[in-house]
């Protein structure tokens, strides 16, 4: 008997362990008023804490963090939503992926009353990318657009002055080469490359998908890249990548690499999101940048492709959506009213450096003091051109990222044709990416 005791104990503890593992799997739902909130940015958590406090106990949050990259976030949401994960209530969706989720029936549409409330005062760019087939599926939490950032000290030598009026990509490349400085852009093969390609094609009046593709089945979607706009985009990307103005490691540079290049002694120009402004502050605090670095930094509207045509600046941001499989959809809608309200957007903008989607936030004195470029951001957001709205966005961006990379090997003759062909073949399941 004595010998058996330890076994019994072992069996009991194994059972207990197994049971706790099982509870662990089933858990996570919390109480009846706990909403599981998938966040993409750490700053969303402090806003959520404030909202939960203000709700007077009506709801609280179980915060779950999505992966850092846009593609990683998409994959996790897609997998969980496709598996009809009932433990998800509010999800943070990168706008270009929203159509894909909405088309699959993963997101609950906002009612007319909710739509009216949530879209009131929202800037045009962020609002456009939150609707799919004239239905609001995401409440814009923040909008985003890229600006042209420059070092004031290099302008004279470069012979271009973005503060005096719009500049073109060609002028920038030529000027930076002349001044021996760099033009940082995102040549890395990920979503940021798609952002760049889309901005270039849209800036010369083209579009990645042929108009009217939104509601077509995958195999009938036509590309719009094989066009003069596509050729111009390929030419500009190639010209920059092979010019002396391209920072080292151009074909592997994402947003943060671009910022690092811009901060170098030979940094000159950069296209990037406004978060860099807050990031400069952090770098100054850390001591990796001189205290007066920001005095030398200027900003202007996104570069043009043609001198006479206004640029279509990139559009980004984040929307809050309710999962169709959530068991607390009305409570989630109630929480979103707070999570995306003016106060929340302002707090979020200050903490994360990402611009609000509500126009009124840009008039706030505190915001204007912290973001001296608030007006340019607001103008950019209004003019921002969303990436293609498509239920098959994953395939669209994958094809573009494959065909437009590495930027140094693009050709204005072949790239648009090949990219268009790949896109259509992939969508009709004839080729893979």
């Amino acid at each position: 008997m004595l010998e058996r005791k330890p076994r019994r104990w072992a069996a009991a503890s194994a059972l207990a362990l197994f049971a706790s593992v099982l509870t662990g799997c089933g858990g996570g739902d919390g109480g009846a008023n706990t909403l599981t909130y998938y966040i993409a940015d750490a700053a969303q958590e402090s806003v959520a804490t404030r909202c939960a406090g203000e709700s007077g106990g009506a709801y609280q949050f179980n915060i779950q963090r999505l992966p850092n990259t846009a593609a990683g976030g998409r994959e996790q949401l897609l997998r969980r939503l496709a598996a009809e994960d009932r433990s998800m209530d509010i999800v943070s969706v990168d706008p270009p992926f929203m159509a894909e989720f909405a088309n699959a029936g993963f997101l609950r549409a906002f009612t007319d009353a909710e739509r009216q409330e949530l879209s009131q005062g929202v800037l045009d760019g962020p609002l456009k990318q939150s609707t799919f087939r004239d239905t609001l599926y995401s409440a814009p939490l923040y909008g985003n657009t890229q600006l042209l950032w420059y070092r004031k000290s290099v302008l004279q030598k470069a012979g271009v002055d973005p503060s005096a009026g719009p500049v073109t990509w060609d002028q920038l490349i030529k000027g930076a080469t002349q001044a021996g400085v760099t033009v940082a852009a995102q040549g890395r093969r990920n979503e940021s490359l798609m952002v760049w390609v889309n901005a270039l094609i849209s800036s010369s009046g083209g579009s990645i998908l042929a108009p009217g593709s939104e509601n077509l089945p995958a195999n009938e979607v036509k590309g719009g890249i094989n066009s003069p706009a596509g050729a111009t985009a390929a030419r500009i990307m190639h010209d920059l990548a092979v010019s002396p103005a391209a920072p080292p490691g151009f074909s592997t540079a994402g947003e943060e690499d671009s910022r690092a290049s811009f901060q170098e002694a030979n940094g000159g120009f950069m296209v990037n999101w406004p978060y860099v402004w807050a990031a400069f502050d952090s770098a100054i605090e850390e001591g990796s940048l001189p205290a007066n670095f920001k005095d030398d930094v200027g900003w202007a509207a996104y570069p043009r492709v043609e001198a006479g045509t206004e640029s279509a600046s990139p559009s980004g941001g984040l929307g809050l959506s309710i999962s169709s499989f959530s068991r607390r959809q009305d409570l989630a809608a109630q929480a979103i009213r707070c999570l995306a309200n003016e106060q929340s957007q302002k707090d979020f903008m200050i903490e994360a450096g990402n611009p609000a989607a509500l126009a009124s936030v840009f008039d706030d004195p505190e915001i204007r003091e912290k973001f001296p470029m608030a007006d340019e951001i607001r103008t950019g957001l209004d003019a921002a051109t969303p990436r293609p709205v498509s239920a098959y966005y994953g395939d669209v961006t994958g094809s573009i990222q494959t065909s437009f990379h590495p930027p140094g090997s693009l050709s204005s003759q072949n790239t648009p044709r090949e990219a268009n062909q790949l896109l259509e073949d992939v969508l009709s399941n004839k080729r893979m990416i």
């Binding site: 496709a82 699959a104 995958a218 490691g249 074909s251 080729r431």
Partner: protein, 317 residues
């Protein structure tokens, strides 16, 4: 516990199953039942967790099925396989995978053999030495891939400054990027290779080597004529295990290059179709092809190169 099983009587051609069952003694039957009761649950669990997904993947691979479009699921029979095998991308990535496999496994074999000799011959600090050599193998592949990605980075890496390469972008070209991936793989898995080789090395009786030495064989002759022939089985097993592993490479490529600059491998192809594009049918077909290739490699080693897997378990001397 040792149970002596009575020897089964020789089977007669005319004997039926029922007749055989009757002949089993009570004890044998009980033992057999006990065996099933003990092993049965594990067997069922194994079938459930491995058999079901495999069969499901084969079944799914016959459909054009996108997870975001469940209603559009159509049966295409072998259509997905035709798409894959006629797509140049598949063959390109097959080539990349083959190059990575051949390069890493060959280098690992040479380095692993050297390390195994060191571990075998070391007179002092044997345990410490073995632990030190095995440390990389204990590191999670993703972590080691990040470490090497940072090491080769042209902004914060040490490799460029160590070799005076300025701001050379290792990840900016196909060959240099593949080189970094191979380095990470070799660093990570050479210890595994050396461990398998060490087991083979330890099985060579010292008498052989002493006899060779007495006969006047040089060190190189001893390696070539005594050690290597006697280690053949261990070497083949080590090569088989590593080849199967290397052919399925994913983590290092995913972290270090994200598949850019044409560094995508076959596992990456399966990942992209299944996870990124949620084309479950097409992705399953890629996975099935990958599995078939892995089985073919195993068959090649076992049947053609006559690799004796029992050697590894120490069943034979």
């Amino acid at each position: 516990m040792s149970i002596t099983t009575p020897a089964a009587p020789p089977r007669k051609p005319t004997e039926t199953r029922a007749a055989r069952r009757i002949r089993l003694t009570d004890r044998a039957r009980k033992e057999r039942n006990l065996g099933w009761m003990l092993a049965g649950p594990a067997f069922i669990a194994m079938v459930a967790v491995t058999g079901y997904p495999i069969l499901n993947a084969i079944w799914l691979s016959l459909f054009d099925f996108r997870l975001t479009d469940p209603d559009g699921r159509t049966f295409v029979f072998l259509g997905n396989y035709a798409t894959i095998l006629t797509d140049g991308l598949f063959w390109k990535q097959f080539g990349v995978t083959a190059i990575i496999t051949v390069v890493t496994v060959s280098v690992e074999l040479v380095l692993g053999f050297g390390l195994a000799m060191v571990m075998h011959r070391a007179l002092y600090l044997r345990t410490a030495l073995r632990v030190a050599i095995l440390v990389p193998y204990g590191i999670i592949t993703v972590v080691s891939a990040y470490a090497w990605a940072y090491a080769f980075s042209n902004t914060y890496g040490f490799v460029n400054s160590l070799f005076g390469l300025g701001d050379f972008d290792w990840f900016g070209g196909t060959w240099s990027a593949l080189f970094t991936v191979c380095v990470a793989e070799i660093w990570k898995t050479t210890p595994f290779m050396s461990l398998l080789l060490l087991a083979g090395l330890a099985q060579i009786p010292d008498d052989y080597l002493e006899a060779a030495q007495v006969d006047g064989a040089t060190a190189w002759q001893r390696v070539k004529r005594v050690i290597l022939p006697n280690m053949k089985a261990a070497i083949m097993v080590a090569l088989l295990f590593r080849t199967l592993d290397a052919f399925r490479i994913f983590d290092s490529v995913f972290i270090m290059t994200a598949g850019a600059q044409s560094t995508e491998t076959l596992s990456f192809l399966a990942y992209r179709q299944t996870i990124s594009r949620v084309m479950v049918g097409l992705g399953s077909a890629v996975s099935v092809i990958l599995a078939i290739l892995v089985v073919l490699i195993a068959v090649l080693f076992v049947k053609v190169f006559k690799t004796d897997l029992s050697q590894q378990r120490g069943d034979k001397k």
